[in-house]
Symmetry: C2
Subunit: 165 residues, 2 copies
């Protein structure tokens, strides 16, 4: 399973880039899985008053529901990223795109809004490429760089960086 | 990880028994996980317009969101029960209570509404005990049997059957 992180500061376009990559790879040969870190202490939205939430309220730490096509698991278990990735490795997927977890050490594509973001890149490890909206940064000579403006036209270039992850 | 199924025909009290057992075991020494089969071709309820559902719409087969305390994984992947249980075995739980999947072969407690249900028990494998609302069935001499009426008073007996799973 290939692993690639998409990270960036707030409002840097992570959601847009993630969905473009999911569409691109899932429409080609690859089975794609995704994992997103819900920042700022938030929680995933869950539907209230289902059997699943009732089980959690009763004390279950992991509550799963399997339907005809969809299965949903909800955990109230602290898991680090490595452990979560281990779960994914038991699923039939070829590519795991991870949104966020900036400080993790997996190969990553970093979205950079401006020169200030650019100056913080030395804090991050394993940068394969960067994407930017700022034309001044397109010709930096530190990282392979793609233009997030007009993502559709640049999707092949971006996909190639993911393949290098 | 101990595994115990709670199965029964429609409206036999599975939900009530499940939640009693979750409360009982999670308030004692055990870390409990649960898995429910959504019968009749239904699907688990999901919150629309989240990043997770957008990833699935874009083609992701497995979409996860990790929050501060809660992690939720949604799969659009056909998985049999054994594969799902393998996922649970990577999580820190001691007891997996499974609601439904009547025809699976794990040790099970069967909830029986009436003599007609009772007559179908030979279709099922690995029955550890049965629970019933029907006083006439309490003294059957085929299976260890507990009374679902007044579940709170009989919870120790029921829990003992789960420990035998």
């Amino acid at each position: 399973m290939k692993i690639c992180q998409i990270v960036g500061y707030k409002n840097s376009g992570k959601t847009t880039v993630m969905n473009s990559l999911i569409r691109y790879f899932s429409s080609s040969e690859m089975k794609v899985g995704t994992l997103k870190h819900h920042g700022h202490g938030g929680e995933p939205e869950v539907v209230d008053n289902t059997d699943s939430t009732t089980h959690i309220e009763s004390g279950s730490l992991v509550s799963g529901v399997q339907g005809e096509n969809t299965t949903q698991l909800t955990f109230e278990v602290k898991m680090n990223l490595d452990k979560l990735i281990q779960l994914y490795s038991n699923l039939p997927i070829d590519l795991l795109l991870i949104e966020g977890y900036k400080n993790a050490s997996y190969p990553k594509i970093v979205l950079v809004k401006n020169e200030q973001d650019f100056s913080h890149l030395s804090d991050l490890s394993n940068i394969i490429a960067i994407g930017t909206w700022d034309e001044k940064l397109l010709n930096n000579n530190k990282f392979p760089t793609f233009n997030i403006n007009n993502l559709d036209a640049n999707i092949e270039q971006l996909a190639e960086y993911v393949r290098r992850c």
